[in-house]
Symmetry: C2
Amino acid sequence: MLGLEEDTVRAAVAGVRRDSGTVASDDVGDIFARASWAGIAEPGDGTAGALISALGARRALAVMLEGVAADRIANEVLDRASIELRVDTIRSGLDRWRPRLVAGDALAALHRAAQRGVSLVLPGDLHWPSGLDDLGDHKPNVLWMLGDRSALTSLSASFAIVGARAATKYGEYVATEAAAGLSDRGFAIASGGAYGIDGMAHRATIASGGVTVAFLAGGVDRFYPSGHHSLLTEITKRGAVVSELPCGASPTRWRFLQRNRLIAAATQATIVVEAGRRSGSLNTAGHAATLGRPLGAVPGPITSVASDGCHRLLREFAAVCVTNADEMAELVTGEAPPTLFDLPGGDGAGVRVLDSLSKRSGRSIHDIAKRSGLAPAEVQGALGLLELEGLVVEAAGAWRRR
Amino acid sequence: MLGLEEDTVRAAVAGVRRDSGTVASDDVGDIFARASWAGIAEPGDGTAGALISALGARRALAVMLEGVAADRIANEVLDRASIELRVDTIRSGLDRWRPRLVAGDALAALHRAAQRGVSLVLPGDLHWPSGLDDLGDHKPNVLWMLGDRSALTSLSASFAIVGARAATKYGEYVATEAAAGLSDRGFAIASGGAYGIDGMAHRATIASGGVTVAFLAGGVDRFYPSGHHSLLTEITKRGAVVSELPCGASPTRWRFLQRNRLIAAATQATIVVEAGRRSGSLNTAGHAATLGRPLGAVPGPITSVASDGCHRLLREFAAVCVTNADEMAELVTGEAPPTLFDLPGGDGAGVRVLDSLSKRSGRSIHDIAKRSGLAPAEVQGALGLLELEGLVVEAAGAWRRR
């Protein structure tokens, strides 16, 4: 395996699979290959994903190590797996990956993970967030996790609550109410661990005794942002901090954008609380929409630039306008799907008859008919209903409002 | 005509058709019959509308006056006009209208109108707001108007701006910006003359030198609310105050609801600025939606009950989220229809290459390829584009960020 002793690899893998529970694959070679791919291909590399899905992580790595040419991979290796990839796509992939093929990198990441108590979660594991599989070839090959594995299982009923780093007091209030309200209703809350909305969502979930998961754009051994070190530490105790990047990896803009796809895919619906016009949380929203996940946006004052992004989502992205935890929950429970509502105005005859009555003087049906412009029979019917509702009263053939 | 001398009727009609310009119908009998119907049938009475549309206002009135039985009207009179109305629908209509058939009422209303300078506008008149015709049998038979007839013509490019009486400072600010912005763009602004949002919309339009029209729920000789007497007087100078109710008629809840259909129908699109959960402006919104008119709602803080109705419109009524006059104008110009927008993130390779560059030290393409996880050829392509954008600079094969 990459020229390493099998015992070395086995020991390294054992260090990150200590509490793996039901293990999808105890194939040490596969696990090590997945950990290696995490350092070789950038998040969301669909060519790597297709290759791994066709050949398995180990074989895909071996093919690359053995220097098999792109056209042979396309025409022979993949052909047998009924996967089609263009030769130049594969060649470009090999050109991307080969410079990063350093034997010691994965080993170092695994050692570092073992030291920090980080464990690996693999596709097919009991705790693997099944929503990630909807990413297809763009799904992560492995998750690196600090905290409670069962928090990942809780993602099967969960919301992403995301938003601007530069949140206002209004946004922070809304994020707090949303996270508390949804976790009270039994949902886990996932977010990105950032300042502003993300942080408030995690904090409010913890304060409500709920489960929260933070997805990071770099290795989980390097908490980012550093100002959230104690919050992220708290999250590992009350949930999990997760990344597809190996330990030691630093966050980059690209990785933030790709991290957002994990947040959108791992959860059932995404709520954007506050977002500037070019906020990264719109990227998360875009992933949610692409995946067909329900997308909610919280409105705010049009005078606040921190709500511009939410308004764009409502206007241009068909996001659902959500103003409280009940409406957010409905995004996934479907208990009260958006419908046309009853317009104020109600029963015309009732309104018109009430309009024609006095509280002081009683009026005859004929008088009411003339005043309301209704036929006497319509007046009589309306009066009967209004009487049942306790809104009108009759004495000696004269009706008045109560 | 209703037992009145023809000269009396002719004189009364002349008093309200002085400045009628191109007149759709100079048939005095028809005009008087329409004015009569305005006092006999309540606004929006579809049976009266169907009868008038089939027989003409004069004949419809005569049929009622002559005591023609409902089944004969259904089977003989209407049959020839190819209109179908059920016998019991007609009978119920006759029962509604007959108690109100008082010869002097229409005459009194016309005299009152003539004294106050109110004139009549008829369907087919040059100034008749053609949007009202979309109401079909529920359209008004006549409009009573104070002010400038040409203001009604301006409704062919117009917005309804409506909202809560109990507006907040935020709502008043938004209404002002919306009305000023839309009238600057050449649109007339219609509203209901009420306190709160309506009043601000009229005021801001006047202040911008625009044209504004107020639709009232009672006669235009009785300004309602009385606290808006000077505003409504001002509107008659800079636009028009209009009603389908005859002079002397008082506003009722039913008439407010029906008045709302005129606002929605006469304009090209309706904007709800602020509305409580059961606000009457939701009724206007409902009419707009029913008529297929574009409907915009302005979001606000979810902590403000004055925005609850707008959020319901966004959530349950597929209203378009509008946050400025440009977005409102787009509702009718269709210049920038809602579309999926470009997600922040952009070109993956560009972002990843920029992520991998330093401002201080230059890096080789090979180094950048390894850092970004891109193939050298992809790096080269991205660098070329970034160089064109002036974002990167090269010296002796080493690239750095500017």
